[in-house]
């Protein structure tokens, strides 16, 4: 049994910076994170990556060390490889570490669970050899593994970033198949005013495009009707540009059309979520300090809406200020004074977001996939199945789940939830907010019955003390 003033779930930028700030203000902090080292996905393995890897990944990656170093503080306990599977009463967290179940109790909990790749259901996307672009980047960060002869498919700055990193690693992608159109770019121009405040990001974007051009990477822009061919493994990507059909033979396909908040933990404790039309995803409700509808639970970082690593770190600190204030470790004026400056930086970090969201919208063909496309990878439920369930009166994803098992597999709907809600909303012609989302239940990640059974003791708290 662990006790702490603050339990932080997730050791990415939001979690790390919140932990550091809270610890500095005198709070005892327990960090629970699934990975074997701090950093989250964006700064994954940053403390151990080799010089060669750092050169490929660049300064934005190695910047993460300023955050991981902050965790070396006497008030911070960081449990690595700790998989959280249940949160109760806004204070109790059940998790698994080294094959054993354990409990932690905190006066406050900060959910810093980050983002997931937006599901990109295309025909053939379940074939071996098809991965998310984020997965390719994780392989590079975690293990120094690069993949040769890959085709990148989708849209957004991350696609360019990974492509340039692959070029630097000496394994350039075969091609970029991009789904955004020139029309999207035109529409995004009205956000340019805000984006200019976020000009460093835009400059980086232009530089990446220039690097790709110089490396001679073919870019196909405005791709439609994208499919992946193959039987036992991916063999080719097919698509259309205008009326002309293309086929690129390859055995690795990397998909990406944006990231979305990982809301599983927040949803599991009934925190309300709303549809964010600009970001095309559900985001949890919270106040200016990150406080959720569950008074003891705060949310910060990409899990609260996509803003990127720097915005996440700032939001984490802001939440830590209010948490420290609530636990009487920080006066109100001191809280507000520090927060004012952080908020100014946060606004600047978020300035480019509307432009990026509009310029690189999700691929329409993956939001409304063809009927025979698998939506739920675990239970192999297709888009057509979901549409048929709508015809049988399923107004929302929970009834559809009961009718056809979408979301019932081990991934708990992480890679089908948005698709199911969006397909139902379109079929039933009702809003995303009225359609809703899967009701997420424990376990957030699978846990063995043996571990659970070992926790069947009259007073777990005493036993573990």
């Amino acid at each position: 049994m662990h006790n702490a003033d603050l339990i932080v779930i997730g050791a990415g930028p939001a979690g790390m910076s919140a932990a550091r700030r809270a610890a500095a203000l005198g709070l005892s902090v327990l960090i629970l994170d699934e990975q074997p080292a701090a950093g989250g996905q964006i700064y994954r393995n940053v403390d151990r990556a080799s010089a060669a890897r750092n050169d490929i990944l660049g300064k934005d990656y190695t910047h993460g060390r300023t955050l991981t170093e902050g965790l070396h503080h006497e008030n911070i306990t960081h449990l690595m490889g700790a998989v959280v599977w249940q949160i109760e009463d806004g204070t109790r967290v059940a998790f698994t570490q080294n094959g054993k179940g354990a409990l932690a109790v905190g006066q406050r909990i900060l959910l810093a669970t980050g983002a997931l790749e937006r599901p990109m259901p295309l025909p053939g996307w379940t074939l071996p050899g098809v991965m998310t672009a984020g997965a390719a980047q994780i392989l590079l960060k975690q293990s120094g593994i690069a993949c040769q002869g890959a085709v990148l498919v989708g849209s957004g700055p991350l696609l360019y970033l990974i492509a340039t990193q692959m070029v630097r690693a000496g394994v350039p992608p075969l091609a970029l198949v991009e789904t955004q159109t020139t029309g999207d770019l035109t529409k995004s121009m009205r956000h340019l005013g805000g984006a200019l405040r976020g000009w460093p990001y835009l400059v980086k974007g232009l530089r990446m495009l220039w690097d790709l051009r110089r490396a001679g990477i073919p870019r196909y822009v405005g791709a439609k009707a994208i499919a992946i061919e193959g039987d036992q493994n991916a063999q080719a990507v097919t698509f259309k540009i205008g009326k002309s059909a293309h086929r690129i033979a390859c055995d690795t396909v990397l998909l990406h059309h944006g990231v979305v908040p990982n809301t599983q933990a927040a949803r599991s404790i009934d925190i309300p979520h709303l549809w964010d039309g600009a970001q095309n995803c559900f985001v949890p409700e919270y106040d200016a300090w990150g406080r959720s509808a569950v008074a003891t639970v705060f949310i910060a970082g990409d899990g609260a809406g996509i803003g990127g690593a720097k915005a996440a770190a700032l939001a984490g600190e802001i939440a830590a200020l209010e948490i420290a204030h609530g636990l009487e470790k920080l006066s109100e004026p001191a809280r507000d004074d520090t927060a004012r400056n952080l908020r100014k930086h946060l606004a600047a970090e978020r300035a480019a977001r509307p432009f990026i969201d509009a310029a690189y919208p999700p691929y329409a063909g993956a939001i409304a996939p063809p009927d025979d496309t698998i939506i739920c990878r675990c239970e192999e439920v297709t888009a057509g199945d979901i549409r048929r369930f709508a015809g049988l009166g399923c107004l929302g994803p929970n009834q559809a789940k009961a009718f056809g098992r979408s979301g019932m597999g081990p991934c708990q709907g992480r890679y089908c939830g948005l698709s199911v809600s969006q397909i139902l909303a379109a079929s039933n012609e009702i809003s995303l907010d009225d359609t809703g989302y899967f009701r997420i239940r424990p376990p957030l990640k699978p846990v063995t019955l043996g571990e659970l059974a070992a926790m069947d003791v009259p007073d777990m708290n005493e036993v573990q003390n």
């Binding site: 249940q86 009166g393 929970n398 424990p442 376990p443 699978p446 846990v447 019955l449 043996g450 069947d456």
Partner: protein, 366 residues
């Protein structure tokens, strides 16, 4: 156009009743709730079960037996019409025991019931070794089991979908996302919804599960029902491990091991608790030790719909004749009875089952 029946509640109970009425050529409108409604139909354990039911009221045991016997034909007809496999297996089921005392006590109760049923209660007692021959995965802590040959299980979600499909195919009108606020009877019955939908019908069936707690009195019923939480969980899909279902665990036709269930009086709270899950896991691992390495993939809390004595209620409203309360906590077991026999009772035809034992009169204070 008015329907013959308006059925309030589009779960398994309402839909199986609707299906039976439609098969008789009646016009039926079903009013169903929304995505977030409490739905025992998607939270249950999937047993088609006879043993231990009606220990104090043999009529309930008989009613369950009649339904279990009708299930195969009902499932076949529904499967043929919709193409959905209902996963029905009726090869018997176990009541597993961890002590000789509890096993013997249960057997003596079964003997009393068996006599009241004229001997129609086919069960046998298996000692540990005999049970192990049937269930090689059984653990050493299980001293034995009662194997009841009328027991079985089905895929309750496929049943729900098949009914939702076939009720429509048979011409039933199903209105989803409806919250019934008011029922009156100016001439025909008139059912009013929060979104101003109105449905007119000659008769109405209230099969709204816990919804009857608030609607029942408006229709002149006592409807003395309460929620009781059952936490249930299910593992990853596994190779065949368990042959026959028990109240502790069953292997579904999909491969997952379903484990149940708690009995908790916590009102309308359907959350899952770590202590609840751990207790269920401990019992399941004691029964089948190999489950210790199985990954739990999902868990949920569902609310049973219980009357004071746990038996179903079938009652025509004394204030509004033509309105019927149909509620039970064994919607899967009784689905065949509701589809095959209940329509005769609702229509008052000859050969209607005698359901007096299930009237609300039994709750009258003496």
């Amino acid at each position: 156009m008015a329907s013959d029946y308006a059925i309030i509640g589009g779960g398994i109970v309402g839909l199986s009743t609707a299906w039976g009425l439609l098969k008789r050529g009646l016009r039926v409108t079903v009013l169903d709730g929304d995505d977030g409604s409490f739905r025992a139909s998607r939270g249950n354990f999937g047993l088609v079960w006879v043993q231990s039911k009606g220990m104090k009221q043999p009529r309930y045991a008989q009613w369950s037996q009649a339904s279990a016997a009708a299930w195969a034909g009902f499932a076949a007809e529904l499967s043929d019409a919709t193409g959905h496999n209902l996963g029905l297996e009726q090869n018997g089921g176990y009541d597993l025991h961890f002590s000789e005392e509890s096993l013997e006590a249960t057997v003596s109760q079964y003997e009393i019931l068996k006599e009241k049923l004229g001997g129609d209660y086919p069960y046998e007692v298996l000692g540990h070794n005999a049970l192990r021959r049937e269930e090689p995965a059984i653990g050493p802590k299980v001293v034995g089991a009662i194997l009841h040959h009328q027991d079985g299980h089905a895929n309750p979600l496929n049943l729900l979908r098949a009914l939702a499909d076939d009720v429509r195919r048979l011409g039933g009108q199903v209105l989803n996302g409806k919250h019934v606020t008011h029922v009156d009877k100016p001439d025909l019955f008139r059912v009013s919804c929060a979104d101003r939908t109105e449905v007119q019908a000659r008769k109405i069936v209230l099969s709204a599960g816990l919804g009857a707690m608030s609607l029942g009195s408006k229709l002149g019923f006592k409807a003395p029902i309460r929620p009781q939480r059952g936490q249930v969980m299910i593992t990853e899909k596994l190779p065949k491990l368990i042959n026959r279902p028990s109240l502790i665990a069953r292997q579904t036709d999909e491969g997952g091991i379903q484990i149940g269930a708690t009995n908790e009086e916590v009102g309308l709270d359907d959350h899952v608790t770590q202590t609840g899950l751990s207790g269920l896991a401990a019992e399941a691992v004691a029964a089948f030790p190999a489950l210790a390495k199985a990954q739990l993939v999902r868990s949920w809390g569902a609310l049973r719909i219980l009357s004071p004595d746990g038996l179903p209620i079938y009652q025509e409203s004394p204030d509004m004749p033509g309105a019927y309360l149909v509620t039970c906590h064994s919607g899967i077991t009784l689905a065949a009875a509701h589809a095959r026999f209940l329509p005769d009772w609702l229509e008052g035809t000859e050969g209607a089952p005698n359901l007096e034992a299930f009237s609300e009169d039994r709750f009258t204070l003496s």
